[in-house]
Symmetry: C2
Subunit: 195 residues, 2 copies
Amino acid sequence: MTEGARRADAQRNIAAILAAAAECLARDPGASTSEIAKAAGVGRVTLYGHFPSRAELVDAVFVQAIATGEEALGQVDLTGDPRAALSRLIESSWQLVDHFRALLLAAQESLPPGRVRELHADPMTRVERLLERGRTQGVFRSDLPSSWLVSVMHNVMHGAAAEIQAGRITSEQAGPYINATLLAAFTPPGTEVPQ
Amino acid sequence: MTEGARRADAQRNIAAILAAAAECLARDPGASTSEIAKAAGVGRVTLYGHFPSRAELVDAVFVQAIATGEEALGQVDLTGDPRAALSRLIESSWQLVDHFRALLLAAQESLPPGRVRELHADPMTRVERLLERGRTQGVFRSDLPSSWLVSVMHNVMHGAAAEIQAGRITSEQAGPYINATLLAAFTPPGTEVPQ
């Protein structure tokens, strides 16, 4: 094999492993590397050559999912009334969290504490910017740091994924619940919670 | 050794292991069983005789912490204005979460998904009862299930512990932030968020 052919081969294998891992982890957050290697049509040695541990593979799949999500969230119209814009952003964000629910669980179980949140830096910055615009208009509360409000959104949304996993609520209920909860949580004290 | 002496010996060892584990895990959520055995003054074989895995030991320490917490929460005055009562309950609950922060992290890392929440059944039932009393008085929202509101409290509070661990907020800030966030989140749509 020439050097170029070897590189092309490695790239094909990495792509096949990532695609297979995304599929297997979506079906079962506990999917093993042997299962994933088999689904990718590569040997375990090849898989470990590219991803020395299961955690590194889960991390790579999660990074990819976040990138996919970022593309979708970049399309959301964040102009106009900040509350309506936040509802649209919550709706789209929730669809992503819900879609990647099993992968999120795999990541929470296998990545070091704080890593899931760290990988959400871009989506969280988008929320923070919108919150800050709404604060200047007096629509969102200014008595708490906006970084705290963003973490509340993160925790409520990821908590909803756990509620679904445990069978306490359905995917369909979660979206409206999250939206109603966060719009109220972000309302300035002394003003009315929107209907 | 007589049977009675053997039993007393085993009970002393279990108590020493649990106390040492609570101390070690409070200092370092990643504390190993060897460290814990050493701190308890027992051999690793003895430790594994009582707790076959690290997860089972973490679970037992967590069960004990919840029991301690339940005793404290049982003292909170939940009568009178439901909002003021909720603030008192949030304050006491947060002191406990903050106190057991490192242990909570250890539990989240080593127990199966859903187990931490399962062990919170009693404190969560207490919150739910108070929320329901407030709903009948129109002080808390009735448009979302009370079980959802309780899970929001659980997630916001445990999320705050992660925020402190990451150095983004301090313990002192967390209490008031959580209280302000939840009182707003639970306010019925169309009514004012309390100041």
